[in-house]
């Protein structure tokens, strides 16, 4: 049942929001954190399991070194310190999706701590940077997945029986926890969204995860509390789980602000609890009460050795980090001479890396951008596939641009050539040849086609001569049609005006 809410602007005028974000990232390692099982998504239930990740009696964990390396790289990318010595810890609680009834995690000795991430958002005063303080990033293992059969809700309550799939159990997770984020004021929802988006870009740039929120490889919990003024002490927080899209992050923060405000204004206290986010209705509902006294009986994992990453290794990893996405963005905006809006279009289309690749291969930035955000985006969209899945390479675009600037292809013919590439007809030159794509450069056939077009519409010549040059469009169009698009439209226009004795 939906709870009372207060209008957002009113809520913000009365209270100061404090955010906290916990993000779980599934690492893209080939094998699980503590065994050699595959991590591929979507395999039949319980086919990617072994004694270790099933928690069979006697089985022992061994550490995935790539998992540790990824954790350190994430920590470094988030400006964290990397522990010189740390351990895993057991988080003890009973739940059927957890094979050992404890989760191998980290407790008071995380591998990375004390970092920050700067995020930019649009404010009333223009673009502004907020620094999100990061408390820690630690390693842990994922749980299995329960599904509840029978019953109306798909929840455990009312189900006939439950099934557990342990394929996911033991997949490496990094949990990234912020410190309380203060000072955002009314921009709390935007800062939250920008943080998760920036984090996602960083993780993608590091190549450590496929960061697909819809598949659960990036999961976000939103903590929120309100206080009277920025000087007041922190209020009681709620923890909203399963906020699994960028849009939902923003909406969940906004919703919780309005819900908390209504309760506080009505003299009610906030219950410290876990809440579930409902993407469809845009509200959260109460889950289980959570208290600070919830006792996981953490203690150091005796089955794994402490981790002591050498400073040399850490520095090696630091040196090989990719450019921070925000820095890179600023650099590209300058290099390519784009506006922020153009850059937003590029980023939202998911074409940034593809454009960079094309530019690195020698394609003009404007042309690369035009193709990837225009024609190619349209094609990918029509087919319901990702841009990366198109078989178009930087070499294709480079050759296409060469032919265009040489005048042997025009825009329309170039599009046809790309169609050929996507249809697997070969490289650009092969397609141009096979499809007979070439701009008609001989004036003879063009003049004949112009005569034909003028004969078909006798009035148009007079109209043009009277100064209405726009009417030339219909003649050029007719010529282009007659030459099956192989004419150079500009040349047709030139010849037409020459013939009619008008000048532009």
């Amino acid at each position: 049942m939906a709870e009372a809410t207060m209008n957002y602007d009113e809520a913000i005028s009365k209270f100061d929001p404090v955010l906290g974000l916990e993000v779980h990232v599934e690492l893209g390692t080939n094998t699980k954190m503590f065994c050699g099982c595959s991590t591929v998504f979507g395999a039949p239930p319980n086919t990617q399991v072994c004694p270790v990740c099933l928690g069979l009696p006697g089985a022992l964990p061994t550490l995935n070194k790539i998992g540790v390396e990824s954790a350190i790289r994430i920590g470094l990318a988030l400006n964290c310190q990397i522990a010189e010595w740390c351990r895993f810890a057991r988080k003890n609680y009973f739940y059927p999706d957890m094979p050992k009834n404890f989760q191998t995690s980290q407790y008071d000795e995380p591998i990375a701590f004390e970092g920050y991430l700067d995020v930019e958002i649009d404010t009333d005063e223009g673009r502004k940077t907020f620094r999100v303080p990061i408390e820690r990033a630690h390693m842990e293992e994922d749980t299995g997945k329960n599904s509840h059969v029978g019953g109306a809700t798909g929840r455990i309550h009312g189900a006939d029986y439950s099934l557990v799939d342990y394929n996911r159990a033991g997949i490496p997770l990094i949990e990234i926890v912020t410190k309380p984020i203060t000072g955002t004021g009314k921009y709390a929802p935007e800062v939250a969204k920008a943080y998760v988006a920036a984090l996602r870009d960083i993780l993608r740039g590091l190549g450590v995860s496929d960061v697909k929120m819809e598949q659960g490889s990036l999961r976000c919990d939103v903590n929120l509390s309100l206080r009277e003024t920025p000087e007041s002490k922190l209020g009681t927080r709620s923890e909203t789980k399963n906020v699994n899209s960028l849009r939902s992050v923003e909406r969940a923060v906004r919703y919780e602000v309005t819900r908390h405000a209504a309760r506080l204004a009505g003299g009610e206290s906030i219950v410290q609890e876990t809440r579930h986010w409902h993407e469809d209705t845009g509200i959260s509902t109460s889950g289980r009460p959570k208290s600070d006294a919830e006792d996981y009986r953490y203690f150091p994992e005796p089955d794994l050795l402490p981790i002591a990453p050498s400073r040399e290794w850490v520095e090696e990893l630091r040196a090989s980090l990719p450019e921070n996405p925000a820095v890179r963005r600023a650099r590209l905006v300058a290099d390519w001479g784009l506006s922020e809006i153009d850059m937003n279009t590029v980023i939202n289309s998911g074409a940034l890396d593809l454009i960079v690749e094309a530019v690195d291969a020698g394609v003009d930035p404007a042309a690369a951008r035009k193709w990837w955000t225009g024609e190619l985006s349209r094609i990918a969209n029509d087919r319901g596939i990702e841009l990366e899945e198109l078989p178009v390479t930087p070499a294709h675009l480079k050759r296409l641009e060469e032919l265009i600037s040489a005048g042997s292809l025009n825009d329309k013919l170039a599009r046809q050539a790309l169609e050929g590439v996507i249809a697997g007809e070969g490289d650009i030159d092969e397609i141009v040849k096979a499809r007979g794509l070439a701009v008609v450069s001989d004036d003879g056939p063009l003049l004949a086609a112009i005569d034909e077009a003028l004969a078909a519409d006798p009035a148009v010549a007079e109209t043009i001569k009277s100064g209405k040059l726009a009417a030339a469009g219909s003649v050029v169009g007719a010529v282009m049609k007659a030459t099956r698009g192989q004419a150079d439209a500009a040349r047709v226009r030139e010849l037409l005006f020459e013939k009619l004795g008008v000048s532009e």
Partner: protein
């Protein structure tokens, strides 16, 4: 009864490899012995007649083919029921695992199979290795072959009893606080707890991960060394396994020369609370060691009196977490799942009815010790004691090559005598526990019978980490003198078992 059962493992291996006796004959002789006496001893929980004969036949085929054999090929062995065995029940002496058949072998089991050791079956133990008498087995106690009314030690009473009742020349035990050494002491056999990390823990159902260690049990020092060499070595499946060469325990057992060595008597492990006959046999051993040319000195380890208390915080803490997986959801015995109960209820009923009282006692103790607000006072404090114990050992080994003490304060007590007094039961391990706390290797060697009850007494020998070979050198030197004095093995003095 065939005289094959009285032979040493090394002797049997020689007979098998030379083709004088088939491995199948050897296995059958031991299976017959089990059939004859195990009704009274109850060392075994499961006897794998078919599997034993099949692996013996495989060894015989290799002998015929002239293949190279391991040092123990064709020698039968009893395996503590805490090691996972592919296709063979593994219960840990608990109802909660009744019916569970592991789909994989423990690394130790893999090594035994590869060496052609013939696994006769799984031996009885205190439930989840919690106990010093094997009375806490959910499947009934094991009886000491020296006196069937007495306990064979624990938790590995089945392993020590099968060796001392001539059901098997070899057995594998596990030792968390003395579960190999104390049973060896009270049954007149030899048992070694190797250096922590010396033998893989993969596939051994964990009691307390930071203390558990599997090791060999046998009737003499050389056989123990042979078995040690077969099961030891680095295992990438166990992160705590030591990646270093295994000390040459066989050569050490053959060397048996302690002239010029320095031997320390741990002042805190003896005296008050130790049975008179245990003390007198221990003092005789000290004299014997000196007579062999070693120098014996007194050593003080002031933190040892705190070891037992710290152990009973660390062990239950780790155990409470290790045993959480026994909930009937994925394996083992499920209780109460009648279609009306929630998963939490089923897990709870499974655990409440599947675990015995000692296991429940320790789970509750450990759960309490790890609780927020108590962690520092209990678990944290116990870890500090553990560090102090290690420092005591370090200081001692700066002065001496090995340390000695009685293995257990008393000889075998009567079944039922201490069952209702957990503290009295815990005190059995007072001398063995510090060794586990520091991860060191320790041996129990029979040194005679206590005059007052004619029951075996054990000498504990302790060496620095990864110096397991010293145990065998010292043990073999003492053993040689004692065998000469006794005119044969100590187990020759044990009464004949009915049915044999």
């Amino acid at each position: 009864m065939s005289d094959l059962i009285r032979k040493d493992a090394s002797e049997l291996a020689g007979l098998v490899s030379s083709g004088e006796v088939s491995a199948v004959e050897v296995a059958q002789a031991h299976l017959d012995r089990i059939a004859a006496v195990d009704g009274a001893v109850h060392a075994f929980l499961h006897v794998d007649t078919k599997g034993a004969l099949a692996s013996a036949a495989a060894v015989d085929a290799k002998v015929k083919a002239g293949d190279k054999l391991s040092v123990l090929a064709g020698v039968p062995l009893g395996l503590k029921d805490i090691l996972a065995t592919n296709g063979l029940p593994t219960t840990c002496g608990s109802k909660v695992l009744d019916g569970w058949i592991p789909p994989y072998d423990a690394t130790v089991v893999t090594k035994l199979r590869e060496a052609g050791v013939v696994i006769l079956g799984k031996t009885n133990m205190d439930e989840f290795a919690m106990g010093s008498s094997t009375e806490h087995s959910a499947f009934g106690p094991t009886h000491n072959p020296w006196d069937l009314e007495r306990i064979p030690g624990g938790s590995g009473g089945g392993s020590s009893a099968c060796v001392s009742s001539f059901e098997a020349p070899l057995a594998i035990g596990t030792d968390t606080g003395g579960s190999i050494r104390q049973p060896a002491a009270v049954t007149g056999s030899v048992g070694v707890k190797p250096t922590y990390g010396g033998v893989s823990r993969y596939g051994i159902v964990a009691l307390a991960s930071s203390l558990d260690q599997a090791g060999p049990c046998a009737r003499n020092v050389l056989d123990t060394a042979l078995l040690h060499s077969v099961i030891a070595g680095h295992d990438p499946m166990d992160s705590t396994s030591i990646n270093a060469p295994v000390p040459d325990v066989i050569a050490a057992a053959k060397r048996a020369d302690i002239k010029g060595m320095k031997v320390g008597i741990v002042k805190e492990l003896g005296g008050e609370g130790y049975q008179a006959g245990v003390r007198s046999r221990f003092e005789e051993s000290v004299a014997l060691i000196e007579s062999l040319g070693a120098e014996v000195v007194d050593v003080s380890c002031p933190s040892f009196p705190a070891a037992l208390a710290a152990y009973y915080l660390i062990l239950p803490s780790e155990a409470s977490s290790n045993l959480a997986k026994f909930d009937g959801i994925r394996f083992g015995n499920r209780v109460g799942d009648d279609g009306t109960k929630s998963v939490e209820q089923v897990m709870s009923e499974t655990r409440a009815s599947g675990f015995g009282s000692e296991v429940i006692r320790r789970i509750i103790l450990g759960t309490y010790a790890l609780s927020a607000g108590y962690y520092d006072a209990y678990y944290g404090q116990a870890q500090k004691v553990r560090t102090l114990i290690k420092q005591d050992f370090d200081a001692a080994f700066a002065k001496v090559d090995v340390l000695i003490s009685p293995t257990a304060p008393t000889t075998a007590f009567k079944i039922g005598e201490k069952l209702d007094d957990p503290l009295a039961m815990y005190l059995n391990d007072v001398a063995t526990i510090p060794v586990n706390m520091a991860g060191l290797p320790g041996m129990s060697l029979p040194i005679g019978l206590a005059p007052e009850d004619n029951l075996p007494v054990g000498l504990q020998i302790i060496a620095p980490a990864m110096a397991d070979d010293r145990l065998y050198n010292v043990g073999a030197a003492i053993e040689r003198e004692l065998l000469a004095k006794w005119g044969g093995p100590i187990l020759g003095m044990a009464p004949e078992l009915a049915g044999a």
